[in-house]
């Protein structure tokens, strides 16, 4: 840019990826090379969406997730507007229009609209007031069916927990498992309905899934495998009572595909998300059939160099959004760097002490990196990444084929499975092995796993033990006195009351850091020293 006017950047969406983008833009904002306006749809300023589960379970108050605007950002003129829903985008005039009709102009637009919960339209049956049946209206969602992506939904869930309502969670993905677990951990009555034989079926192998199933049951979750919803059973209050809620059907139970009736006044659908790409699609930008704004490596739309998309609404190089925060942050960084370049404030080249540029790391090859899934829970340790499955027809002992390493300790509730090929890590599952899981999630970042790490990883779970000392071994590291010298020093005294200090005066042992003094004391007390010194060599 050659103009002296700062680059006007408008961000649509006020979630965590938008917040990260603003952070990454900081140097350009500080220097005045760019200005940024964030248009957030929700009525409250940015909050930590990822921790909504803790609000839902009542561990936290919603206000505790709030992110006050930092003083640094205020100083740099970052404008954050809440309750500013953008309804349309005019790429020719470079403006967005807000719900109230106001227009906001931009030089560069970043869409960070995220995704919305994808809640199926369930068939509904039920009664109203005095036995009149409710018409099963398609698309009319009864009260009590929610997703778990917004503060208000979390608050509704917390109410249900407090008043002891029965809650059903639909969906065996990580969100569903975490939600069910969080509720069970605070003593709520909760069922988890999921497809397939085991929860997290797409990322866990069958053995791991069975262990998780068992652990969920132990945690108090009523798990219903292979189970969908046949229909929602609703009721509605009679209209003659004339309250706000009268006439609106509300959930009382579910009928499962297995024909079972489960009482529930709240259904939390964790059945997937859909990227919110409507603005982009309506403005003629390329979007995927199942959602996602197609962008290049820097997050820029190929058809319009002034528009970027990052986070859950974006489909980098046409790949479906992952829904995970890690990739979202990286997209925010790439887009911010591109924007900084355009604002005339590119990333500083890192120089070494002699003033030469520092080599930058070569990026992890696409497809190698795995995004680890770590189930957030106060009671379970479950982590996985990539695909834990291999073609069962393959010879597991073929040195050229994919390698599967497994280890299990049913009594301890531990299970480990690592799938790799050569140096590449293709997937892993670790249950009940937090330290191993932590290491494997690190490796997932690069998608590599050195061969050495197989059994060494397991050994990490336990500390190394002590070894018996021989006479040549150094007992006191500070003085260098050996076990044998300490023996001699102790034996040289004729009294029965040799002290550790006396031993120290003779051979120096125990006069430094002092950690061996206890050991010397024990030797003296046991009388072992005396005996050994007296016996022939």
């Amino acid at each position: 840019m050659t103009t002296d006017r700062p680059l006007r950047i408008v961000v649509v969406g006020g979630g965590p990826v938008a917040a990260r983008l603003v952070q990454e833009l900081r140097p350009a904002l500080e220097s005045g090379a760019a200005r940024v306006t964030v248009l957030g749809e929700e009525p409250l300023p940015a909050y930590q969406r990822i921790r909504l589960g803790e609000v839902a379970s009542g561990r936290l108050d919603g206000s505790e997730l709030a992110l006050a605007q930092s003083a640094d950002e205020e100083r740099d003129g970052v404008e954050i507007r809440c309750g500013a829903a953008v309804v349309s985008l005019d790429r020719d005039r470079k403006t967005v229009t807000l719900a109230g009709g106001a227009e906001v102009g931009y030089d560069r637009l970043v869409l960070a609209t995220g995704a919305s919960a994808l809640i199926p339209d369930f068939p509904v049956s039920g009664t109203r007031g005095r036995g009149i049946s409710v018409a099963p209206a398609a698309g009319a969602r009864p009260e009590g069916v929610i997703g778990l992506r917004q503060m208000q939904e979390a608050c509704r869930l917390r109410e249900a927990v407090r008043s002891g309502e029965s809650v059903a969670v639909l969906g065996g993905g990580v969100l569903g498992v975490e939600a069910a677990l969080a509720l069970a951990e605070v003593g709520a009555e909760v069922s988890l309905l999921h497809r397939g034989q085991t929860p997290l079926g797409r990322t866990l192998d069958v053995d791991a899934g069975r262990l998780l199933h068992r652990q969920l049951v132990d945690a108090g979750v009523q798990v219903r495998p292979d189970c969908g919803i046949q229909e929602l059973v609703v009721a509605a209050r009679a209209q003659d009572r004339a309250t706000d809620r009268d006439g609106i059907p509300y959930l009382t139970a579910l009928r499962t595909t297995q024909g079972r009736r489960i009482p529930a006044t709240l259904l939390v659908a964790c059945t997937g998300i859909r990227p919110r790409d409507e603005l982009a699609a309506a403005a003629g930008l390329d979007t995927l059939p199942r959602g996602g704004i197609v962008v290049d490596r820097t997050g820029r739309c190929p058809e319009d160099a002034a528009v970027f998309a990052v986070g859950d609404c974006a489909a980098p190089l046409g790949a479906r959004p992952s829904g995970l925060i890690g990739p979202g942050w990286e997209q925010a960084r790439s887009a911010a760097l591109a924007l900084r370049g355009e604002a005339g404030h590119p990333e500083d080249t890192d120089l070494d002490a002699a003033g030469r540029p520092v080599p930058v790391p070569s990026p992890v090859p696409p497809g190698h990196r795995l995004d680890p899934i770590i189930v957030k829970s106060h009671s379970l340790s479950v982590a996985c990444a990539g695909s834990p499955s291999v073609d069962p027809a393959l010879d597991p002992w073929d040195p050229r084929g994919p390698h599967v390493s497994t280890w299990a300790d049913p009594a301890a509730g531990q299970y480990l499975r690592i799938v790799s090929e050569g140096d590449r890590l293709l997937g892993f599952v670790a249950i009940g092995l937090p330290r191993t899981a932590a290491e494997l999630s690190r490796h997932a970042g690069t998608g590599t796993l050195p061969a050495a790490d197989r059994s060494a990883l397991l050994a990490l779970e336990h500390a190394a033990g002590d070894r018996e000392l021989g006479p040549e071994d150094v007992l006191c590291r500070c003085s260098g006195a050996t076990f044998g010298q300490v023996e001699e020093a102790a034996a040289a005294a004729d009294t029965d009351s040799t002290t550790v200090d006396e031993v120290g005066r003779r051979c120096g042992a125990g006069t430094g850091c002092g950690t061996c003094r206890e050991r010397i004391g024990a030797l003296l007390a046991a009388g072992a020293v005396r005996q050994r010194a007296g016996s022939p060599a």
């Binding site: 690190r442 050495a452 950690t515």
Partner: protein
């Protein structure tokens, strides 16, 4: 002729713990031979009579050693490889140095001369070195090896707390602590007598050591004495931010304290919000459960401390500081302590463990590129005015900030580099990062002058080597890791041909025609330090040379020591002088508050092909570049050569065997070392001590990439590959 043995009370020549010792000098030997000196630990609150193996054998450095430098050496001709050093008189050597310096400055300007100082120099020498540079040479190019050790912690403490005093409380406060967290510090090897102060915490199971290695200190947590947490090298910052995240997320932070004593909480909260334990886990390899546990554990301990329980202390060392994000990491550690509501209370606090003998004083006396005496800033007009006035010169005549140590060394031989370098108390071809580049740079200099008492690897490259006095041969003061100013006392007379650096600098200044005289006697210099530091953050004005010999006061001390009884005494019964605890009422910023703020994690650095990271550190038996300790048979015998510690599984994968030789390759260079298998290491980490020279020098591998905030180089995280070295291609 022979006299009865005399006893001198002084402190150890090595680390910042500055253990007290008694030197017994026995002159009973034949005439003309040096007296026999024996060392015994003496009582002082930090060491309580104990010494480590280095201190206990320190007297081996004294006496008639064939390798002791006793006469100035001069190299004839420019070719360092082809010519040998020859003996010269002091006049010849000093005249030569002065003439060459003058000529170089005449040709290239004042900044053509650089000075490299040290945290091992006494306060008097460090002060005089800075004054010599700024007044006699009028060069800005002065920095010191403390840039490699303490720069990040110093910067962090200054930014957050407003003042850089390593331990802002007496070391003996640790004795009461039920919980001590050591982030990247291996005290059991680097300053063993320190470990006594961890006894209570260990008895209560409260010693927590964060280190990628199962170091000797980490092993102190075994048997129920505490916990060892082993993050991957270079990931301490995310770990610390995640701990802070849990405190804030779970409402465990001390909101009342934060409200009263800090600012900037919201900016800090922003910085940690993304670092959920699950996120941190995938970066540092410490499980989310463990991170939550530690945060809650610390919060509970801090709460108990405030309800009348035992204190909780967080300490950092080089392990977390010697990184490109070292300043931010130290800031995060301080911030963690602030969230717990500890600093400036009797319930615990934060401190950094200074490494070098005078690492604390060395960073206060004005030998840093950006600093004037008393921790004053060389860029602040008021500070320049004050110091210039007290030096009898003008602020305009003082040079501005110079090049920090690594830049100073890595630009040698380039356009931006100095043409001549004076090195005092440092062995940079072993201790500086990218040692091969440093060596090439030194060889490219027009003039290299090294002051040392042994012919170190750096001195061996010099054009002029000036023999100086060492520890037991000189008087002076040093400031220990808790900010106590100690007297070093002369016990023996140095070799006839060796001189004090104070005399050398005064002589050079005179020959250079400086109008600002330099004092030659330590006592005179100390008196000047008192005058010049008066009113500065590190204020020595109230100290007294003779009184220092009796009572080691904590700076700052402004009033002359009172003769009345003081309420507090140390455990050895001395009255407490000065300021043992610096932040009890207020922090040192003008608003009296600690300043929290934004901390950003920078991107990961490239991995090596084998995915291995080298971390460097120290051994119990050696000190720094080994110039002293490699000359003590008892120490060299235990650890005679460079080693590389490798996890057995990693060794097996790369064809290495225990006791075999390995070649390490980094983007910067190669080094060779003997393999030591260590199952206590992470499989992705290898460890080399940095005390050895030649092909075994660990710093041939380190690149010296800088922390942009402190200009401290990265030492603890270098991507390397490992290869076995066969017997035939061994050198």
């Amino acid at each position: 002729m022979s006299e009865p043995a005399s006893e001198t009370r002084t402190h150890c020549p090595y680390c910042a713990l500055q253990c007290a010792m008694t030197l017994s000098v026995d002159d009973a030997g034949p005439a003309g031979t040096a007296p026999t000196v024996t060392v015994a630990g003496a009582w002082f609150p930090t060491n309580r009579g104990r010494l480590c193996r280095k201190g206990a054998t320190a007297a081996r450095l004294l006496g008639d050693r064939p390798d002791r430098l006793t006469v100035p050496l001069i190299r004839e001709g420019a070719n360092r490889q082809a010519t040998a050093l020859r003996e010269a008189s002091w006049d010849e050597a000093l005249d030569l140095v002065a003439t060459r310096l003058t000529a170089l400055q005449h040709r290239h300007g004042p900044d053509a001369i650089g000075i490299f100082g040290s945290g091992s120099l006494t306060n008097e020498k460090a002060y005089t070195l800075g004054k010599f540079a700024r007044t006699a040479l009028r060069t800005s190019r002065i920095d010191y090896n403390g840039r490699f050790c303490m720069a990040s912690a110093a910067k962090a403490a200054t930014e957050v707390l407003g003042l850089d005093r390593g331990l802002p409380f007496p070391l003996t406060d640790l004795d009461e602590a039920c919980t001590v967290v050591l982030f990247g510090s291996n005290v059991a090897d680097t300053m063993p007598p320190f470990v006594q102060h961890l006894q209570k915490a260990r008895d209560l199971g409260g010693l927590i050591v964060v280190d990628p290695r199962r170091s000797t200190t980490a092993q102190l947590t075994e048997g129920g004495a505490g916990h060892h947490i082993a993050p991957a090298p270079g990931t301490d910052l995310p770990l610390l931010l995640s701990l802070a995240h849990v405190l804030l997320a779970e409402g465990l932070a001390d909101e009342r304290y934060l409200g009263r004593r800090t600012t900037g909480l919201e900016d800090f909260r922003r910085s940690v919000v993304d670092w959920r334990p699950e996120q941190a886990q995938a970066v540092c390899g410490v499980s989310a459960l463990r991170i939550r546990w530690l945060a809650r554990h610390l919060a509970a301990a801090a709460r108990a401390a405030k309800a009348g329980g035992d204190p909780v202390v967080i300490l950092t060392g080089r392990g977390v500081e010697q990184h490109r994000d070292g300043t931010d990491t130290a800031k995060a550690a301080i911030s963690l302590a602030l969230l717990l509501g500890l600093p400036g209370t009797r319930h615990g606090g934060y401190g950094t463990l200074t490494g070098q003998g005078n690492g604390q004083g060395g960073r206060e006396m004005g030998q840093k590129a950006d600093q004037l005496p008393g921790l004053r800033s060389i860029t602040a007009p008021a500070d320049r005015q004050t110091v210039a006035g007290r030096w009898g010169t003008t602020a305009e005549a003082l040079p501005g900030p110079g090049l920090p140590a690594t830049q100073l060394l890595h630009t040698l031989g380039t356009e931006r580099g100095v043409k001549a370098l004076l090195v005092h108390g440092a062995n940079v071809v072993v201790s500086a990062p990218d040692a091969l580049q440093v060596e090439r740079g030194l060889r490219a200099l027009d003039l290299l002058v090294v002051c040392d008492f042994f012919l170190s690897e750096t001195a061996a490259l010099a054009d002029v080597v000036l023999p100086v006095l060492q520890w037991a041969e000189e008087d002076g003061t040093l400031t220990n890791l808790e900010g106590r100013v100690l007297r070093r006392r002369r016990a023996v007379t140095g070799p006839a041909g060796a001189r004090s650096e104070l005399w050398i600098l005064a002589e050079l200044a005179r020959r250079l025609g400086s109008t600002v005289p330099l004092a030659e006697e330590p006592e005179e210099v100390f008196a000047e330090i008192r005058r010049v530091t008066a009113g500065g953050p590190a204020d020595y004005s109230g100290l007294d040379w003779d009184r220092c010999a009796e009572v080691a006061a904590y700076w700052p001390l402004t009033e002359p020591p009172s003769t009345e009884t003081t309420p507090e005494t140390t455990e050895t019964g001395e009255p407490v002088l000065g300021t043992p605890r610096v932040f009890t009422d207020r922090f040192a910023h003008p608003d009296g508050r600690a300043h929290l703020g934004t901390i950003t994690v920078r991107g990961a650095q490239p991995a090596s092909a084998q995915g291995l990271t080298l971390t460097t550190g120290r051994l119990m038996e050696h000190y720094q570049s080994g110039t002293q300790t490699r000359r003590v048979a008892e120490l060299l015998g235990v650890h005679p050569e460079a080693t590389v510690s490798v996890h057995p599984a990693t060794a097996a994968q790369h064809g290495l065997t225990d006791g075999g030789r390995a070649e390490l390759r980094s983007a910067t260079g190669t080094a060779r070392a003997r393999v030591v298998l260590d199952a206590g290491l992470r499989t992705d980490t290898v460890f080399m001590p940095f005390h050895f020279a030649g092909v075994g020098a660990a710093n041939r591998l380190t690149a010296g990439l800088l922390d942009p905030r402190s200009q401290m180089p990265e030492f603890k995280s270098t991507p390397v590959d490992l290869h076995p070295v066969g017997a035939h291609d061994d050198d």
